[in-house]
Amino acid sequence: MSKAVKERERVVIRFAGDSGDGMQLTGDRFTNATAVLGNDLATLPDFPAEIRAPAGTVHGVSAFQIQFASTDIATPGDHADVLVAMNPAALKADLDTVVTGGTLLLNEDAFTARNLDKAGYAADPTADGSLEGYTVVKVPMTSITVRAVEDLGISKKEAERAKNMFALGLVSWMYGRPTQPTITWLEAKFGSKPEILDANVAAFNAGYAFGETTELFAHQVVVKAAPSAPGTYRNVAGAQALSWGLVAAAQRAGLQLFYASYPITPASDLLHELSKHKHFGVLTVQAEDEIAAANMALGAAFTGSLAVTGTSGPGLDLKAETIGLAVITELPLLVIDVQRAGPSTGMPTKTEQGDLLAAMFGRHGESPIPIVAPSSPGGCFDVAFEAARVAIRYRTPVIVLSDSFLQNSSEPWRLPDVEGLPTIDPGFATPMEGFEPYARDDRLARPWAIPGTPGLEHRIGGLERQEVTGDISYDGENHERMTHLRAAKVDGIAADIPPLEVTDPSGDADLLVLGWGSSRGSISAAAERFRVGGGAVATAHLHWLNPFPSNTGEVLRRYERVLVPEMNTGQLAMLVRARYLVDAITFSRVQGRPIWADELADAIEELSRG
């Protein structure tokens, strides 16, 4: 019997359960099936810092949110239309993420007195009327799963573990997702354990079949493919795209990629990803600490590798002195900072944009360095490539400011034409008479003379250098010249990066919303919402934060008011105020989550009125 089908433009689903329930995996699989279907999508993994907090408690809830649509979307959605809660703790932790009138799909088996108690419920919320206003759908997911796999000869524990696949199957039916990508993936993952494979496939199919046959759902919801530019697509998370961008840059530069890092959330995924690709000539070193990682990378840069060190906020603090050494030795070095909520250990798994000023100024002395921030998961590829190009061309460290949200979030990504990627000329110095290690070219870059080159033996280091010769110098006037030269070199990069683009469809906006980094999706969604309501607002998004694109001041001065939404307390706003004397207004959120489009749209609305 086939049910009626309703069409929707966009849906937000949130999968929530215990850390051990496999919610990230469930979300990831749903995402993949959704991507293959051609929907536009954005995801938000939201997991606790604890690896396995006590089962059934609110601390241990791990969630994965996805928005998918038949139109162009930019964010994982402010609020969920559907919450899949595998236990009472998940319901308790995430109920406030669900829209009023949304659907709660609950694993009925988990709503026992004991679990309710562990979650801190005094009474069963499904029975006491507290969920009024929501559509509550109770499904005994665990027991149906156990029944579905009972003939497969696996333990009860293994059987129960497959309940996430039941949930995935059920939600896949609810939204008409294709089943084959999930089954193919399960086959690849569990190929060597046939009984586990069979159990997961059986649970998945049982979930799908349950959707088809149950009376609980009157209809299936369909979200059609989103129109998109011609090309080949895949779903990609920021960590993957950033890693591949580094691999691509090394390949187009003909250099060995050297990545040194110390395990830290959420940057470790870069180390994991790059470590898989050794046959690309990628060397990865897990260093003894953050400082070592930076110094190893700098040593590798000296020998002519594309050298990269990745970290998150606390590690950026530790690397600061080494970044200063890279500034004065003028060697290409990429520092990837996957920002997380600080200060100190802060909220390690939660996102923030709090490191902009640290990247800009967090070193002693005058030590300017270029800073660039990706603004979407797929965009991480381009930014990594671009950062490498600039580091190599200008012989300078470059900080890439990603963040936890971008790193873990995923979206459909149109694959670049690999052959069309520009080549990067490392421009190593070659044997010559009268070699001077601190001579400069037209862009003020010094030679990259690598060990092994005859006749170019020279010494670099942290002491101030004499202009041109590179000998140690304590001469004050020379120091002043070198200080200005280093700054001018970085400023000069502005001529080598695209201008700041403004989106202002009506052309009569008075208000400019200026953003950077991962909040681009929220900003464009908020602006779109405001424009649909008839308002006029302009948006612009910075990728290079040092130097700013050369037209930035002109753009800012074109608008009466400038609003800067940031997941910090106003760091970019402080920079543009100082630099351009523009009275920028801060929209600040530091709740460890992306800015919601709705709250930003409200702020735009309010500003436009006032």
Binding site: N32, Q256, K278, H279, F302, G452, E457
Partner: protein
């Protein structure tokens, strides 16, 4: 290291910079010894990299006409690890001091040794912070009176050789700045060792800690107190009158040869288990009493740089040269055609 050239001289390794250490500093003697023996290695200056940290020893790189990287405090072993791992064909030396290597940079030292990174670490031990003008260091004797410890230091010093052995270093030696012959011989062996080497060099700071090593290095007492280690030979010193023997519970002790059963005199063995080397490292508490000099231990293990590159080579053998398009197109893809 291609086409090892003959005819290199000390001059080829001497840069145009004039050394600027205090007159009488032990560093001059070490520099002369290093520059003097470098030509023997048959490695061109272009294939050599000297990396140093902060402190008086840090200046060393500027005086060698090789590639050089004067880093930041304590991090030379990490920079050198990057150099030697990125390009294992380079001949990499680290010059460091007791404060640089054992205090602020202790973590990098032990991990570079543990990994057996192919770098030769020369640690100039003068038991004092010289460049910051005379604070006690992690090798200063307990009770040391300095500007920062006017009532005497209360912390116990490191035994650098023991620390290196404990870090699983594959080559550990100790020598003395003013004994040119011994110093050169130890450097020679360190250079010949296929892997990471740690060489502690007792180096006199005549300004802030003059005479710290007099018990071992000056005449006539030096000849009595130096226990010279020679692989495969019985450990006998003080003009043949004293020896290191195995005492109670296998403990090593110093005794008069005349009162010792020749069978209990220790024969030095640099390739065996580390317990002997540890025992010899701890025969003294510091250079103020009879102490061993020479090579304590040398064993072979694969070097870190080679092992890292072998993984790359094996992965490339298995998967072929990395194909970027294939990497990006891996996993599920879908195509939107122009009409759609």
């Amino acid at each position: 290291m291609v086409d090892a050239p003959a005819g290199l001289t000390k001059k080829d390794f001497t840069s145009s910079q004039d050394p600027r250490w205090c007159p009488g500093c032990g560093d001059y003697a070490i520099l002369a010894a290093v520059q003097g023996f470098m030509p023997e290695l048959g490695i061109e200056p272009k294939d050599m990299v000297f990396v140093s940290g902060i402190g008086c020893s840090g200046r060393f790189t500027y005086y060698m006409d090789t590639y050089g990287f004067h880093g930041i405090h304590g991090r030379a072993p990490a920079i050198a690890t990057g150099v030697a791992t990125a390009n294992p064909d380079l001949n990499v030396w680290v010059v460091t001091g007791d404060g640089d290597a054992l205090s602020i940079g202790g973590n990098h030292l032990i991990h570079a040794l543990r990994r057996n990174v192919d770098i030769k670490i020369l640690m100039f031990n003068n038991q004092i912070y010289g460049l910051t003008k005379g604070q006690y260091s992690p090798t200063s004797e307990q009770g040391k009176v300095t500007k920062s410890t006017p009532f005497g230091s209360v912390d116990r010093p490191f035994n650098p050789v023991s620390l290196a052995l404990g870090s699983a270093a594959t080559f550990v030696a100790r020598t003395i700045d003013n004994d040119r012959q011994h110093l050169t011989e130890v450097l020679r062996q360190a250079a010949a060792h296929p892997g990471g080497a740690f060489v502690e060099i007792y180096q006199n700071c005549n300004v802030f800690n003059d005479g710290a090593f007099d018990v071992l290095r000056d005449k006539p007492q030096g000849a009595h107190n130096q226990i010279r280690l020679v692989d495969g030979e019985p450990i006998i010193f003080d003009e043949g009158t004293r020896c290191v023997r195995i005492g109670e519970n296998g403990r090593l002790e110093i005794a008069a040869v005349a009162e010792t059963d020749p069978a209990s005199i220790v024969t030095h063995d640099i390739h065996g288990r580390p317990s002997l080397a540890f025992g010899l490292a701890h025969i003294s508490d510091g250079p103020w009493e009879e102490s061993c000099i020479g090579v304590f231990r040398e064993v072979e293990r694969p070097t870190y740089g080679r092992a890292v590159h072998e993984q790359v080579a094996r992965a490339t053998e298995r998967h072929g040269d990395g194909d970027l398009a294939a990497l990006l197109h891996g996993g599920d893809t879908w195509t939107v055609d122009a009409a759609g």
